[in-house]
């Protein structure tokens, strides 16, 4: 499966999916005018990948600074997809990074974690640079 690498723009995050290594990440901001421009390509590759990842170790890093409501909904859908995959035996670990002074981003992480039973979800405060 081809890796997916999309550099960040002013309103969309950096996407780096290394499927061979099992390491995926989303970093930056996400407030596109149309959520499908950012999340369409992501779902298009993520879904078939998770369908065939039984017994693999996958790590997904989220380091988001800001996202809008449709991005939040898309993330929720993404976590639901991961939860289903984890239920089928994909070993999934999610790291949710937030700046220590960003309560909102931390709370978003806690909200998402609530619906996850089979995915390992870690809340990680980033060290201020």
């Amino acid at each position: 499966m081809d890796n997916l690498k999309i550099p960040a723009t002013e309103r969309s995050p950096d996407v780096d999916f290394d499927f061979a290594a099992g390491r995926l990440s989303l970093r930056g901001e996400s407030y596109p005018e149309d959520a499908s421009t950012v999340f369409g390509p992501i779902f298009a590759v993520l879904e078939p990948f998770l369908d065939n990842a039984e017994n693999r170790d996958i790590r997904f890093d989220f380091e988001l600074i800001y996202f809008n409501s449709s991005s939040a909904k898309a993330l929720m859908n993404m976590f639901q997809m991961m939860e289903n995959a984890a239920g089928r035996g994909v070993r999934l670990e999610v790291n949710w990074y937030f700046a220590p002074d960003d309560e909102t981003m931390k709370e978003f992480g806690e909200d998402f974690a609530e619906d996850l039973k089979s995915v390992t979800f870690n809340l990680v405060a980033t060290t201020p640079s």
Partner: protein
């Protein structure tokens, strides 16, 4: 439930899961066609409520997205404006710096004018003495050539020669002294060199360079400063302060033709500070201007050459290089203008 417009097949749909639930609910209703009407109605009501809730979610996401988009645009605009404002401020500071530099040059120009005027007098005297001596010498030469020289001719010549040469020497010395002190003032004024200097001497030298300008209008200068106050600091800054204050007295303090007295009183305080009081007996500064005179560009003579930087520079020199303070004293109206400058006799190591 209508499918997302423009999206086909497996295209990305934010509410994919919800739509699938709705689809199966509709199918459930079909399968319940023969069930108890109460159950059918209940399920239909639930489906309807869920469908409305999903519609509402879509609407909220859309509205919220739009608001967040506007916010982001506004933030960008704000950032751009702030950058612009900062840039404008930088440019303003640069312009101000240039003006300060220009003001320095202008006051140096005034100094050079003063120097020329002041040196003219002794040089003029020396020149007329020299020509007088030359005349007397050629007279004597003529008498000598005609072998008609008398003892009293010779004595008169000797007296003239002694007088004129004494005057020539005295005036040349005066000119040399003036040049020396102007040189010091000019160097101090253009450089920001720190050195030890005699307070009384420095004040006198600076005021001397201004005498032609002050004398033109008939103003008198009084300096009271004990000798031997040895200051370690920036004589150039002090000199520029005094020049600015004095020029202000001349331009703002008096009407044309009105003569006044400018006083400078300096002394050492108990805690080794220099306390210098500058005053004139002119019109004074009206109450409503008093807290603005140190602001850059505040001037009451905008039309006639004032930049309003003079006192701003004075204030910066007093609080900067001199590490002291400057205040305008509160005098009753019409009692003239008085400033008090206080600065350490010995400035701290790192200025």
């Amino acid at each position: 439930m209508s499918s997302e417009t423009g999206e086909t097949g497996t295209a990305f749909n934010l509410f994919d899961a919800e739509e699938r639930v709705l689809a199966s609910a509709t199918e459930l209703e079909h399968r319940l066609a023969d069930a108890d009407p109460g159950i059918r109605q209940g399920v239909a009501a639930l489906t309807e409520a869920y469908s409305r809730s999903v519609r509402e979610q879509r609407r909220l996401v859309k509205v919220s997205d739009r608001l967040q988009h506007q916010l982001a645009t506004l933030n960008q605009e704000l950032g751009r404006r702030r950058a612009e404002a900062e840039e404008a401020l930088d440019r303003l500071k640069e312009a101000q710096e240039t003006l300060v530099q220009a003001e320095k040059l202008a006051s140096l120009g005034a100094l050079v004018g003063g120097v020329a005027h002041e040196i003219n007098t002794p040089v003029g005297i020396a020149l007329s003495c020299a020509s007088h001596l030359a005349d007397a010498t050629s007279d004597l030469q003529r008498l000598f050539a005609a072998d008609d020289i008398g003892i009293d001719d010779f004595e008169r010549f000797l007296a003239t020669a002694a007088d004129t040469s004494r005057l020539i020497m005295a005036n040349c010395e005066r000119a040399a002294d003036l040049i020396g002190s102007f040189k010091q003032v000019a160097v101090d004024r253009t450089s920001s060199e720190r050195r030890r200097f005699d307070l009384a001497g420095s004040i006198a030298e600076t005021l001397t360079s201004l005498t032609p300008r002050l004398r033109q209008e008939g103003h008198k200068v009084e300096i009271v400063c004990p000798p031997g106050i040895d200051v370690d600091g920036y004589p150039g800054a002090l000199s520029q302060i005094l020049v600015n204050l004095a020029m202000n007295s001349v331009t703002h303090g008096y009407d044309p033709g009105q003569a006044g007295i400018v006083r400078i009183t300096a002394a050492l305080t108990e805690d080794d500070m220099v306390r210098l009081v500058y005053s004139d007996d002119g019109k004074g500064i009206p109450e409503e201007h008093r807290n603005r005179i140190f602001d850059p560009f505040f001037t009451t003579r905008r039309g006639s050459g004032g930049t309003g930087l003079g006192l701003h520079i004075v204030y910066n020199l007093a609080t900067g290089p001199l590490q002291g303070s400057l205040s305008l004293d509160n005098l009753p109206a019409q009692a003239g203008t008085r400033f008090t400058l206080i600065f350490p006799r010995q400035i701290a190591r790192a200025p």
